[in-house]
Every structure is written in structure tokens, then in C-alpha cells.
């Protein structure tokens, strides 16, 4: 079958040929790569790209339509929407990077404990994971925001708590299936301690799939941040976030469509870009994961 020929063998470490050639052949993956590159690029270089200070008010030019001076128009306070949109990419990626790194590290630890540790600990952790997953995400987020107050840190905390069970469950399944593999049994017969087995033998085998799943979570996290900020319960104004721009736009949706378009478009492009790229990378590195998700 022609589709299966494109998937390279996983014997060697992925180099330029194994990684990039299949990526460039798949048009969706290429679009994803370009979008992601564009977003990361604009987030990193944001202070050098923006034509105006994103928080500078100019009440004489409120709710302007796009023009040569203001590429995406201005908002209800006369701030340049293009500058705010570009700066918003920083918040989105910052939340995604921080929370996913912490959540996957903790998920890795708890997952290994559950998968390799004693049975009672496994049962305990599984019930804990299932409990956390039993809250509908947004409801849980709203409850936490009510108690802790809205802030960037609260958003990060919510994402960490709700993502740990997903990562931990996946690591646990992998650790369990590896536990009785011959090479682990052989290690143990040679007198290797639990830390050594976990660190040198389990970890390298579970980190790959975990990284793929974690990177595919980036659009989900970006959505949660923007969603909470849209509700006015995430990033505090005047910090520019795509969610707060959407919120401003929603309030003035009958005056101008541009604010809503400017807040929503980067969200659509980001989620699409990371999803297209993530799916392509998953199929290249670990086609078996397709069934998990």
C-alpha cells in the first residue's frame, strides 16, 4: 500500500531524512510546520515586530477598521489590535510550555510509580486519576478560579492538574507492559535496584510517546487559556491575550467585526497548525499511538 511506504523504520534515531522528507511530502504537515514556525517566530520576536505599544491608548482612534496604519484596526480604547495579537502569542505559548512541561514531568513520575510500584499504590493512583478526570474541565476551572482568583498562575495550575492524569495513565500502561519484559527481568536478576531500572531502562522507553502526546496537547492548552481569558477569568487586562481580545470584540460585535476576527483567527491558525504538525509527527515516530488517541 502506498501510504505505508512513507512511514520510515524506527531503527535509527530520526535524522534529517527520516523526519523532514515525510513531513515535506504531506501537504497538511507542511502547512502545520509553516504555521507553527510563524507563531513561534512571532512570539519570540514579538517586541521587535509590533508597530505600536500594545497597551498604548488612543481614544481618538477607537474601533477603527483595518488600514495601512493599523493592520487589524484598533479596539475600543484605540489600542493597535495587530500589536496586541502578536503579543498575545507570547502568553499562549508561555502558558502551554510551562504547564505542559510541569504536567508531563509529574505525570511521568506518577505513571512510573503506578505502573512499576506495588499494586495498592497503583489502585490508589488510578482512582485519583479517574477522580480528577471526572470533573468536566471548564466546570473544574471555574471552581478553582472562584477560590484562587483569576490570574496567569491559576490558569497554569488548572492545566497542570487536569493534564497529569492523562499523561500518567499513558506512562502507567507502557510501564506495566514493560515490567515483565525479558530485559527488565534480566536487569533485576543481575541485582539492579528499582531506581536504576526506572531511570535507565523504563524512562527512555516511555519518554518518546509521552513527548508526542504532550506536544499534541499544545492546542488544547492554548484553548483553555484563551477560553478562560475570554470569560474574564484568565489573564488579567491589560495584558494582551487572544482570549481578552475576543472578549473585547464580543462586547462590540455589533459595532465592528474586526476585533472578533483578529482575536479568533490566531487561535484557529495556532490550533490547526499544532494539530496538523502533531498528527504528522505522531504518524512518523510512533504510528501505534494512533490507536491510543
Amino acid at each position: 500500500m502506498p501510504t505505508e511506504k512513507r512511514v520510515p523504520k524506527l531503527t535509527a534515531a530520526p535524522g534529517f531524512r527520516t523526519l523532514f522528507i515525510p513531513l515535506f511530502r504531506d501537504p497538511l504537515a507542511l502547512i502545520g510546520l509553516i504555521l507553527v514556525a510563524l507563531i513561534v517566530f512571532s512570539a519570540v520576536l514579538a517586541p521587535h515586530i509590533v508597530p505600536y505599544d500594545p497597551n498604548k491608548l488612543n481614544v481618538h482612534y477607537r474601533l477603527q477598521a483595518p488600514s495601512g496604519d493599523h493592520l487589524l484596526g484598533t479596539d475600543q480604547l484605540g489600542r493597535d489590535v495587530f500589536s496586541r495579537t502578536i503579543m498575545g502569542s507570547r502568553i499562549a505559548l508561555k502558558v502551554a510550555l510551562i504547564s505542559i512541561s510541569i504536567a508531563s514531568a509529574l505525570g511521568l513520575l506518577l505513571g512510573l510509580l503506578a505502573g512499576y510500584g506495588p499494586k495498592w499504590l497503583d489502585n490508589l493512583l488510578i482512582v485519583f486519576f479517574d477522580t480528577v478526570r471526572s470533573f468536566p474541565t471548564v466546570m473544574f476551572a471555574l471552581a478553582v478560579v472562584t477560590l484562587l482568583g483569576p490570574s496567569l498562575e491559576t490558569v497554569i495550575l488548572i492545566v497542570i492538574v487536569t493534564s497529569i492524569p492523562v499523561y500518567a495513565r499513558m506512562v502507567r500502561t507502557q510501564a506495566q507492559s514493560m515490567k515483565n519484559n525479558e530485559f527488565i527481568l534480566a536487569e533485576r536478576a543481575m541485582g539492579a535496584g528499582t531506581p536504576r531500572i526506572l531511570w535507565f531502562h523504563m524512562l527512555p522507553n516511555v519518554v518518546g510517546p509521552l513527548l508526542i502526546i504532550a506536544s499534541m496537547d499544545i492546542p488544547v492548552v492554548v484553548t483553555i487559556e484563551a477560553g478562560l481569558s475570554f470569560l474574564g477569568l484568565g489573564v488579567r487586562p491589560p495584558t494582551p491575550s487572544w482570549g481578552t481580545i475576543l472578549n473585547d470584540g464580543y462586547s462590540f460585535i455589533r459595532n465592528t467585526p474586526w476585533l472578533v476576527i483578529a482575536g479568533g483567527a490566531p487561535l484557529i491558525l495556532t490550533t490547526l497548525g499544532f494539530t496538523f504538525l502533531g498528527e504528522a509527527l505522531r504518524d512518523i515516530f510512533d504510528p501505534k499511538l494512533r490507536k491510543v488517541m
Partner: protein, 314 residues
């Protein structure tokens, strides 16, 4: 099956107990006076005294937790500070609006997703299959609240085809249906892609099985093979997924209800968060969580009834 049934329901009960305890503990871990935390900043001294007595705040934490559970079991979720009405009544007044929205969203996404998935599987690698693939990934990725705001902008503000806000006039079915279209579109769109994708994958698997080959050898028409033999099996993963789907749709419904200013549990909890009305927030989170656990449990039981292999995994 009976053992599985009991075990699964037992697990669901344990999860609900732990979840409610977690919520209860969370309020008590917040620094400050638990009374003003529970009742919000605008509570009157009389209300505070009444609540302190009712909750037994001078008693140890464990006793308080048990009392709280007994109250929840009796259907007593506390009193709303502002209207001084029972939180349980307020929540169950709003719940039907959200359930109608979710049922509509599920119905249209299943009605479109399953045929799309079947078509893609049968006409594998055709142009429409590839288009469906891109459409699926796209709709799954795009946040539902962006879909909600954009559809509000396009269909209600710009084209004025459909009403923008509210749930329609009471008693006027047509007006209520009109008000359901856009929110149901926003909540269900991602699920069309998800279901199409899942049905396509499981249909391809089923079509390769022996009994389908036998049916073909007997000369049965292709249409009846697909719809009466293959689909019956290929639909299983979708059934299991819909249980989890309800939870996601509850989250999506929060946004849809806020964007379209529809009454419902999402709007209720959001307004309660804004006014720091803690009893209503707690009550709605508890009710939706229990609802979600019930849905996932039913989905698991249905899946286990249809496929005996699942029963061994608990």
C-alpha cells in the same frame, strides 16, 4: 457481567465521593474565614450565623465533611446567598436547558458524523475521503467558543438569519428551535469530525473481517453489508466515546450559553463565579460532575455489554 456491573458502579460511587470531598476540602484550604468564602463577601451576619450553626463549623473537619455528604445525599446543596433559595432547585431549573442543547448537539453530530465516516471508509482515499479527513482534524482542533463567536458574527449579526441571544419564547416551539441552532452548531461541530474519524477507522477494521467476506460471497448487496452488518460493529467505539463526550460538551455548553446568553447550567455557574456566589458554584460543579460520572459509567456498561473482552479489564 453482573460482577463487572457491580464493580463499575462501585468505582463510580467512590469517584463521586472523592470528587465531592476534594471540592469540600478545596474551600476549606482557602485562607480566610470559611463563612465569607462559602457565602461570598456580601453575606449578612444573620446568614453567617445560620450557616455556622447548620454546618457545625466548631466541630472537627471530618464531622463537617460527613454532615456535608449527608446533606448532599438528601439533595440539599445549600442556600443561595442572594435569592435565599435552595441551590438544588436553582441548579435543576437550569439543567434542562443545557441538556436540550447537549442532546441536540449530539444528535446532529452523530447524524452527520456516522454517514461521513462510513462514506470515507467505503471510498477510501477518494477526494471526499481526504476532504473529510481534513475537515475532521480541523473541526476537532478549533476551539468551540471561537466557533460560537464566529457563527454569532456571521449568522446572527451579519446575515441576520438566526436570533443572537436567549432561548426563545416560552411555549413557542419554533422560536425555541431557532434559538437552538447556533449554540448546537458550536457545541457539536468538533464532534462531527471526531465521530466521522472514529467510525471511518473502525469501519475499515470491520470491513476486513471474515464475516463480511462471507456476506460478500453470499452475494448480499453492498449497501446491506455496510449498514446492517458492518456498521453494527463499527459503531461500538462511538458509543463508548459518547459518554466522555457528554463531559466535553458540558464544557462546550458553558461557552455556548455565555456567548448566546442562553439560560442553562453554564450561564448559571459563570454568573455565580462573577458574583462570587460560592454555594451556587459548588452546587453546579457537584451536579455536573455526578452527571458526567453517570454518563461515563453507562457508556462503559453499554460497551461491556456489547463486547465481553472489556469486562476483564477492571
Amino acid at each position: 457481567m453482573w460482577i463487572y456491573l457491580l464493580k463499575r458502579i462501585g468505582l463510580a460511587a467512590i469517584i463521586v465521593v472523592i470528587a465531592v470531598s476534594m471540592l469540600f476540602t478545596m474551600i476549606h484550604m482557602v485562607p480566610g474565614d470559611p463563612l465569607s468564602v462559602l457565602l461570598g463577601p456580601r453575606a449578612t451576619p444573620e446568614l453567617k450565623a445560620a450557616l455556622a450553626e447548620r454546618m457545625g463549623l466548631d466541630k472537627p473537619f471530618a464531622v463537617q465533611l460527613v454532615t456535608f455528604f449527608l446533606n448532599v445525599l438528601r439533595g440539599d446543596l445549600g442556600i443561595d446567598v442572594f435569592s435565599e433559595r435552595s441551590v438544588a432547585i436553582i441548579v435543576f431549573e437550569q439543567l434542562p436547558f443545557t441538556m436540550v442543547l447537549i442532546i441536540f448537539a449530539i444528535t446532529w453530530s452523530v447524524a452527520l458524523g456516522i454517514p461521513l465516516g462510513c462514506y470515507s471508509a467505503i471510498h477510501r482515499n477518494s477526494f471526499l475521503d481526504k476532504l473529510t479527513g481534513i475537515f475532521s482534524v480541523g473541526t476537532i482542533a478549533v476551539p468551540s467558543f471561537v466557533v460560537a463567536i464566529y457563527s454569532l458574527l456571521i449568522f446572527a449579526v451579519a446575515l441576520k438569519w438566526l436570533p443572537a441571544i436567549g432561548a426563545g419564547k416560552e411555549g413557542n416551539l419554533l422560536s425555541q428551535l431557532e434559538h437552538l441552532v447556533l449554540p448546537a452548531l458550536a457545541v457539536g461541530l468538533g464532534w462531527v469530525g471526531y465521530i466521522a474519524r472514529l467510525v471511518r477507522a473502525s469501519m475499515l477494521e470491520v470491513l476486513g473481517e471474515n464475516h463480511i467476506r462471507t456476506a460478500r460471497a453470499f452475494g448480499l448487496p453492498e449497501r446491506s453489508i455496510i449498514y446492517s452488518y458492518a456498521l453494527r460493529l463499527a459503531i461500538l467505539p462511538t458509543v463508548a466515546l459518547l459518554g466522555v463526550g457528554i463531559g466535553n460538551m458540558l464544557s462546550g455548553a458553558v461557552f455556548a450559553e455565555i456567548v448566546f446568553a442562553r439560560p442553562g447550567i453554564g450561564k448559571l455557574i459563570y454568573d455565580a463565579v462573577i458574583t462570587r456566589n460560592y454555594p451556587v458554584v459548588m452546587g453546579s460543579v457537584i451536579v455536573t460532575t455526578v452527571l458526567f460520572v453517570i454518563c461515563t459509567t453507562i457508556a462503559d456498561l453499554v460497551a461491556a455489554a456489547l463486547d465481553p473482552r472489556i469486562r476483564e479489564n477492571l
